[in-house]
């Protein structure tokens, strides 16, 4: 609230600075604006920027990091009674202090004796610190705003190049914005590497990447924390691969054939009907596909296989029949097929772009030789488009590997090393979700393993994307 109020006040001050800067410029020009180097508004804008922007940045940083400063100051001195506690309990103690100090919890907390006294003292201290930190940030911001204003106003005269200065600010802002994208990547890489590094302190990377047993829950027991067997991610990789393969078996032929038909055969009317419909399929949120998989396709497939099992039961393939009758809703096949459906429009629209980039002159050349359309497509267009189509498939694979909701809702949780599509499998993404939803201790290897998985996922998908994008770029250059 205080932050909002101060931002509002700052905005008003900045507006006043605008008027002041503009007014001063007009006065300097004696009413003849043509004598000014820049339009009067640029002088106003320049003053407003100096008065507002640095202070606003300060307030923003204060809002982001003020809490951390408060914590640090508060925790700098730990009474003996508190230091005697385990580190975990100390954290609980301080978060209780914060909760009470900010009025988020009722004031009755179960501490007694020395601890109680220390607690009450710390609550008071926390309130004081909070006040000091907040008001010092506010005061500092006020000073910066005033300083900026006083610095700029005297410089306003007819010779002053206000427009260039304002444009300097603007290009600074533009650069900052484009660096945001790089910072995002950096943030992803650093956070994944940092948390994974913490994970690999207790579990060896070799054991993680090549171990064949995945059972993170067992690791809750202290004596097994370091046992690398429980964090062998191979079953997850296998499950991810299996689901991805099934999805691609569905999406690649259907997506590619529909792209070929739409770009080579369909007339304009059909194209303009089918393409938006495919876009709808592409726009459906993945959680909807997950719902469809879990409650429609899953039971359907299960009934189908159970039915076949019932038919075969007692026959020569009784073993198979018994197995089929045991098939559950959650299986790799269901997740894979539904994911394949999700990927159809993705494959189709990428392939469509690629096929359309093949120059018409090649088609003309082939038709003029007396080739039929399908011969032209199969022997000229597709070979020419092959690199692009490979790239499209790689991008689709990357999507399939990183897809989360469908597998979370339809594949299952059992980490099994299997190639059987009717089995329940689990994937990297499913495990990340399961490990990180619900209340977990953030420092346990169990939770941290999610970041190890996330890092693996990121590296794999990034690799696929880079290769694919490079191929596409080369391909485009070839025909440009």
């Amino acid at each position: 609230m205080l932050t909002w109020l101060s931002l509002l006040f700052l905005a008003l001050f900045s507006g006043a600075a605008f008027m002041a800067g503009r007014g001063r410029a007009l006065k300097a020009a004696g009413g003849a604006t043509a004598r000014l180097h820049s339009l009067p508004n640029y002088y106003g804008a320049y003053a407003a920027l100096w008065a507002g922007a640095p202070a606003a940045l300060l307030l923003l940083l204060g809002a982001m990091f003020g809490g951390r400063v408060e914590d640090a100051v508060l925790q700098a001195q730990r009474p003996a009674a508190v230091s005697a506690l385990t580190p975990d309990r100390q954290n609980v103690f301080f978060s209780d202090v914060q909760a009470i100090a900010s009025g988020q919890a009722a004031s009755e907390v179960a501490y007694d004796g020395d601890l109680r006294a220390a607690f009450d003292a710390k609550v008071v201290e926390a309130r004081n610190i909070e006040g000091i930190v907040r008001y010092s940030i506010l005061g500092l911001a006020g000073l910066v705003a005033l300083g900026g204003f006083l610095l700029v106003i005297p410089r306003v005269n007819t010779e002053f190049r206000a427009r260039n200065r304002v444009e300097g600010w603007v290009s600074g802002l533009l650069i900052a914005c484009s660096v945001a994208a790089v910072l995002t990547t950096l943030g992803i890489v650093l956070s994944l590497i940092w948390e994974s590094w913490r994970f690999f302190q207790s579990v060896s990377p070799i054991g993680f990447l090549f171990g064949t047993e995945w059972a993170p829950q067992i690791a809750m027991r202290a004596d097994q924390v370091a046992s690398s067997g429980a964090f062998g991610a191979v079953p997850l990789f296998a499950g991810t691969f299996l689901v991805m393969m099934i999805a691609m078996l569905v999406a690649a032929p259907i997506g590619l054939y529909s792209a070929i038909y739409l770009s080579e055969y369909a007339n304009r009317g059909l194209r303009s009907t089918i393409k938006p419909l495919l876009e709808i399929l592409a726009g459906v949120p993945t959680v909807v596909y997950g719902f469809f998989a879990a409650l429609t396709v899953g039971p359907l497939f299960r009934a189908f296989f159970n039915g076949i099992g019932a038919q075969l039961a007692g026959g020569p393939m009784d073993g198979l029949a018994q197995y089929l009758m045991q098939v559950q809703n959650q299986m790799a096949l269901v997740a894979g097929v539904v994911m394949g459906i999700m990927l159809i429009p993705f494959v189709s629209s990428l392939s469509d772009d690629i096929i359309n980039a093949v120059p018409q002159s090649l088609r003309d050349g082939s038709y003029a030789m007396g080739a039929t359309k399908s011969e032209t497509v199969k022997k000229v267009v597709l070979p020419a488009a092959l690199p692009g189509i490979m790239a499209a498939m790689l991008l689709a694979i990357s999507r399939a590997v990183g897809e989360t909701m469908i597998v979370t809702m339809a594949a299952g949780l059992q980490a099994k090393l299997t190639a059987n599509p009717l089995d329940t499998v689990t994937t990297v993404t499913v495990q990340i979700v399961t490990l990180l939803t619900g209340d977990q201790e953030f420092d346990s290897p169990k939770t941290l393993s999610a970041f190890g998985l996330g890092l693996t996922l990121f590296v794999v998908t990034l690799g696929l994307n880079i290769i694919a994008l490079r191929i596409v770029q080369k391909y485009r250059e070839q025909y440009d």
Binding site: C177, A180, I254, I274, L281, V288, S348, K373, L436, L469
Partner: protein, 434 residues
Amino acid sequence: MTDAVLNPGAPAPKAAPLSAREALLKKRHRSEMWFRVQGIAAIVIAMIFLVVLVGRIVVQGYSTFETHTLTVPVYINPERVDVTALEGVNYDYIVAEALMKKLGVQDDDLGTTSAKIMDLTSRDFGFQLLNKLKADKSLIGKTVDVTGSVKADADLYYKGEIKRSTAEVDRKLDNQQLDWLDKLRTDGTVKAGFNTKFFSNSDSTEPEQAGVWGAVVGSAMMLVITALIAIPVGVLAAVYLEEFAPKNRWTDIIEVNINNLAAVPSIVYGLLGLALFINWLHVPRGSPLVGGLVLALMALPTVIIATRSSLKAVPPSIREAALGVGASKAQTVFHHVLPLAMPGVMTGAILSLAHALGETAPLLMIGMVAFVPGAPESFTSSATVLPVQVFIWENASERAFHERTAAAIIVLLVFMIVMNAAAVILRRRFERRW
């Protein structure tokens, strides 16, 4: 040589005979047909998937929009109400008594009948009575009409989802309860109507009380944050890269980086949000603020890419014209190029917001899976959003929640269709072809 020219089909002496050539031609046309059929089949299959997906969800969900309400005169027996402790009164039993009277049945000592009756009505009746009494204690001893939902299972029976033909042990309601329900419907106590509660209520543990309002508000708040961050930052970044940036290694890296960011799995953004916003910056878990921040980072590359392509579409002659009359580079871009590119920019922005609206996985990472029985009060309080609500309800065991899941999906899809339609209209109305 001359011979070969006169017989162009026979360049070599061993040319295939006429019949063979005709057979080949037939074969070629057959394979042409077959290829065409394969293409059509692919499209038909894709369309069937679309119809089945959407159709199945509509079929599962539309029944949610109808609900059955029950109106019953309740005698507020003073013996059962302790005026000093209104909260502690068993209102459910009072309602059950009223219904037993209506149905002409008696409770036994164990309360079996009243328990069965209570299985048919929502707990909402009790809350309504409590609120009425709190407002006006003089109602004690009087009879008041109370209207509320029937319990989800009873609702499913009325809608034909629970059938009498199912063996009694396999269904939630026994024959006696079904008889009562039939009776209540025939005497007009129970009426069918539009389910407004589904839109005005938030999540609840009881399916008949659960609605999407909280999730809709949560989604809206989250999208506001996403839009406020992703659109300005994305557009300005694109303007810099397309109009100002020098072509060097550094901008090449940024460009490759943006293209790759657009293809990073969404769940990785969730991990980033968890590590950066929650563990490091202490943004409240599960709040619209943190969700909006994560989705903004996710939407950023798509906004940049869309903006760049619409900036590219503005012909260079416009830039030359502006520069020619002495405008600075910045004036050229912000006065001429960007306004001309704006329809494309907005279309791209709306589409990436629509995509963000349907995103689920990263939100699960940042603690948006909690049960939140109300609309969020501020950007920092716990919230749920539509796709997460879908995920939560899908996991619920009650069958009535599955119906609501599909209905929530319909609501979500309607929002997405509206956003996409807005984008299409924007593109059609304002897009220029150069």
